[in-house]
Symmetry: C2
């Protein structure tokens, strides 16, 4: 790959991107291009694309906007397959003609163009971080597509803090050529991505997006954060990216029809992604809640009912299994209350009993920090229980852990073991509800398909 | 104060509570009571309350349930003013008569009784932590009342993790005598508490609660988490604390009439508390949003409109002030977009311009982490700006900081300076909306009062 506009000056975009590419460990050849220097960050620098002695797949372009068209020509003439135009100064500041001209030239050579006005792209399976965002993105299976630059970069940093694993980050910017529909097609077939999460202000072609979304959601979940859903929000979006945010009703209908999950907040979108990226299959609607604190069970039961999740009834057989794991004042109703004395072995037993039962389709296990029990020990027993079951059981388990710094550590352990874990009952239930919503949609689609 | 049932055995409740009282730094005299030992945790231990050579204000009782009535008698005979009964084994397991008898005896001596079935109480202004919850509660001005034990203790730990400052934690348990209404009366007049936050499953007397709530909300905000709002939730609550959770409609109406803010989740309740505990006064409805990222501004504008907050129009004078703080491609509409290059001085200037203007009543300032700017430096300039203004300006400022570990640190700095700060635009707007809701309620009450 090539970085055109590579710079020796720290802080300059053409420097930061090249540094991220090198430091994130990209294994292919990297060719900095800049006519004024011989070397950048220890790499030999070439005066122009024409001098680069190799076939380049992707050229990152970070030069002033007025020079982009010429650089695109050089890339085309040198056989580059795709370009990502970091540079701003196009349609977002009224220079729509300049932008059209750049796209026209790229197409003349059969090159796809990402951008302009983007902060770059990341693809962790190739150890590629060609962005001027943060370096140490966590590898994982969530593909994150963002129309906004500042929120995209800041959310990249946030995913590091929150240990969200990403397969890709793609800044789409002005979407002059490559748009959400193209990326949906790509990530739908990408085995390294299990969930696609899109921050979107507006779409250029609603119909193309819907076609691509329909195909993508048949394979994996697609989550959107749609900004500009209100009058004031869409006014702000128009002045920000020049997007026509469009009617909220139209977007909602389009998302519903195509199985795209519309999140109501940034936090919800990433919570949903955490639950949906886990290696689960939902086969029925029998939800069981297990808790060590009655109050937390009540809150989870409330949240479940409000989100349309049905708490299953308890058979004599299930009651008997749980009764053996609790003192006499526990409860074998749903939510099952193991009581505050429940330790790692009790949680181990409860998760085995629930996940191993044919009656149960999905489990939310809640742990409230108590003075008698050790959160990280309980987490490790939960993980052990799941490891024992994983070969045969892929039904969803979502954990809620309420407490302090030790609980935070326990939640991290669970997340690292591929078990979604949240700090409040409501967030755990909302994440489970997203799982139900997606699998119900997909089942409905499969049913219709098999009927036709 | 006395701890009856004080124990030398770590892990036992009578040991843990005494240890917390000592280690949290209570300055009054502490009298452990236990007939079987002479000394506990370095303190002389007395065989019974009768031998304690001092006037005791509060006795913590942690003895088996069948011994509680006798111990209450001893306390009464010794002139104790109030008792907190930690012991369980009363109405929650069907022993309602035993509970009534205990209350009857306490009343005979004119003592108030907290509990039974509680994890204790905390009052940070007196350096009192008489609970078997976590020790190092952050002192602050939120009074937290909880009916549930496990969720109460685990949320205490959570407040430490989240740096929520507490004036008090009161576990009310079975509410055999002291109930939410009594505590509302106390904390309404407590100068050390600015916000009252209640986790509630059911009420014994709705009318008394409403009378107390009406008086309390005229003085300070009251936030509730009401568990058991749905059919399944109230069934779970009945089996948990034996509470009749009651109709959600009735509670909603009661809360609305009395100005009690009903949170829809644990997270929301504590976010609201963070905003409402700050030293602000809201005088009008002109809300201004300032951002360095267009997308985050759009999300905040959406959330504002959805929650009924009106983004103010921009006067020529305000536009001029902000224009001077941004590059040409910034926006002086509301949300004001300082653009991604905005540094500490720009935020300082923007907060001064907004908070210092008579046209603006409330400000949400958003910072998206960028590669060009330092989150903690920006936080310190924001704090400086507010310090300069605080003497004369008490209008609300809420911060949203989106990003990684540096932003998390910046948010902590802001919170420690008394400025509410949140990690997503939606949470910042929701917190501001709670402020608007409370002040609108209070203004309406004042208007009605002055009319009569």
């Amino acid at each position: 790959m090539a970085v055109i506009g590579a710079s020796r000056t720290p802080g300059k975009i053409g420097h930061e991107i090249l540094r991220n590419i090198i430091n994130f460990g990209f294994k292919g050849n990297i060719y900095p291009v800049n006519p004024h220097v011989d070397e950048v960050l220890g790499l030999r620098c070439f005066p122009s694309m024409r001098e680069v002695p190799d076939q380049v797949d992707l050229a990152i372009i970070s030069v002033p906007s007025r020079a982009v068209a010429r650089v695109v020509d050089e890339c085309g003439a040198s056989g580059v397959k795709a370009v990502a135009v970091i540079s701003s100064g196009f349609r977002e500041i009224g220079q729509a003609d300049l932008e059209k001209e750049v796209v026209r030239r790229a197409r003349r050579y059969g090159m796809r163009l990402l951008g302009p006005n983007i902060f770059g792209l990341v693809y962790t399976p190739s150890k590629l971080n060609a962005s001027f965002g943060p370096l140490h993105v966590h590898p994982g299976k969530v593909a994150f597509i963002t129309q906004s630059g500042a929120i995209g970069i800041s959310l990249m940093s946030w995913t590091i803090l929150e240990h969200v694993g990403l397969s890709a980050v793609v800044s789409v910017g002005n979407k002059a050529d490559v748009d959400d529909a193209d990326l949906l097609e790509f990530f739908a077939d990408d085995p390294n991505s299990s969930v696609i999460l899109i921050y979107m202000e507006g779409l250029t072609s609603g119909r193309r997006f819907m076609e691509a979304a329909l195909k993508a959601t048949a394979k994996k979940p697609v989550i959107t954060i749609k900004a500009g859903r209100t009058k004031r929000g869409s006014m702000a979006a128009a002045s920000h990216t020049g997007s026509m945010a469009g009617s909220d009703e139209v977007y909602r209908a389009a998302f519903r029809q195509t199985g795209v999950l519309l999140a109501s907040s940034v936090e919800e979108a990433f919570d949903w992604a955490e639950a949906l990226v886990a290696d689960f299959e939902l086969r029925g609607e029998n939800l069981l809640i297990i808790t060590n604190g009655g109050g937390a069970g009540v809150l989870a039961a409330d949240a479940s009912e409000l989100l349309g999740l049905r708490l299953m009834g308890m058979s004599p057989n299930l009651r008997k299994k749980f009764r053996a794991l609790m003192p006499y004042y526990g409860s074998v109703e749903n939510p099952v209350d193991l009581t505050a004395t429940a330790d790692g072995d009790d949680y181990y037993g409860a998760i085995h009993a629930a996940m191993g039962s044919d009656e149960v389709d999905a489990v939310i296990a809640i742990y409230c920090q108590t003075p008698y029990t050790d959160p990280t020990l309980i987490a490790s027993r939960m993980i052990k229980a799941m490891e024992g079951l994983r070969a045969e059981v892929r039904k969803p388990l979502v954990i809620c852990g309420i407490g302090g710094v030790e609980v935070e550590k326990a939640l991290r352990m669970l997340e690292e073991a591929g078990i979604p874990a949240f700090p409040t009952p409501e967030r755990a239930v909302m994440a489970m509800a997203a799982l139900f919503k997606y699998y119900e949609y997909r089942e409905e689609v499969m049913r219709k398909t098999s009927e036709n």
